[in-house]
Symmetry: D2
Subunit: 129 residues, 4 copies
Amino acid sequence: MRVRFAECDPQSIVFNSRYLEYFDVAMTELWREAIGPYEESMGDLGVDMVVAEAGLRFRAPLRFDDEFELRASIRRLGTTSMTTAIAVIKDGTTCVEGELRHVFVHQGTADKREVPDEVRAGLTPYLAD
Amino acid sequence: MRVRFAECDPQSIVFNSRYLEYFDVAMTELWREAIGPYEESMGDLGVDMVVAEAGLRFRAPLRFDDEFELRASIRRLGTTSMTTAIAVIKDGTTCVEGELRHVFVHQGTADKREVPDEVRAGLTPYLAD
Amino acid sequence: MRVRFAECDPQSIVFNSRYLEYFDVAMTELWREAIGPYEESMGDLGVDMVVAEAGLRFRAPLRFDDEFELRASIRRLGTTSMTTAIAVIKDGTTCVEGELRHVFVHQGTADKREVPDEVRAGLTPYLAD
Amino acid sequence: MRVRFAECDPQSIVFNSRYLEYFDVAMTELWREAIGPYEESMGDLGVDMVVAEAGLRFRAPLRFDDEFELRASIRRLGTTSMTTAIAVIKDGTTCVEGELRHVFVHQGTADKREVPDEVRAGLTPYLAD
């Protein structure tokens, strides 16, 4: 991925909120690899996720046109929630790292539910030690 | 309204796409004044709008923390569509101006429908000569 | 402030990254009240701030057209950094709360510097107990 | 490229302003191919571009996770400005198409200047008939 001009601010660096857009892309791609396209796989199960917590630590800025990669691993897979560690990496250097905690809900509601078995099975290989 | 830092790019001016976010705010406020809160009033009628065309002319840049106002007037109210002229004004100077053409659809679909009578009645006073 | 349509996602709630845009608005307004317009006051001092850490806890979603207010108080004012607690409140309920840790730098650089005396004096009344 | 979740609105389609972010990516990639990385090549020449006009026609919506490509060709290369036609295409279908008119300026100013010879030479092969 490359930093888009529109993602940078007058300090000529990526504005902090944009990293949460990148984190969401990391989740989408983790899902595709582990379980399948998010909407299809989750729609079939009648389940959805909402973000409950986010944390970000900014170590070095990204700038317009920088190439970077996203790495995601699951730190904790609980009964109704999961915590994913995400890193934004440029040339081997971690520029931003953080976590997203998601809660599983019945689709179209805010009601918590257990992680479906199919999802748990798919995600388990991505659990960090 | 004031320009937010996150809306500005490395040229230290509001990035062009952000004006379409402002245009949408102008539509929301025009609706509130003419008809009522958008979601309530349109939901009751089972109708929605989608943007079919947008045009923008950038005359002078806005910068971080600039105060500005939005002006909207309806240029054309057709059978199934409307065209709204919108201006972004700072200290009496038009910085950006443009148009949005919206098409009325049955809610939850992409199927065109006529402008509801209640909407037409509410919008008519905002028709520019 | 009101939630803009463009800030909401297909779950019909404000997308998580947008709260960091709101947090930045809260910082801008805290600055205006405590010290003066950010760019003027900081430019005169040759100083700038960069975000080092951000944390957010999402308690209840905001939706399109919701009215909300932002509250900011300084939790810690160190030698070269400050931590600000920010809450997004709707009808007396805290929907999202979090912190931003900023580091003071010499303008145009990433080099840390001490909080200028004028800034420290202005911010001290906003320190939470 | 794929549509990001954060780019979609409560109608479950890409919000209109996001296409101007895509258009900017199209310009960046056109530049890379025709002339070189934007900031390096333009910085060396002491020149920059600002957007003067934008037009968009929305033919079909893009949704979360849709794959699409961007196509750009130069419609007009004038003395101090250029107009680029851009299309957002999914599975061979043009979903959104439009134009950006850019004006060349002396870097760090709003003062118009002629298109540099190096830029004109690089862009000429991309002129649509």
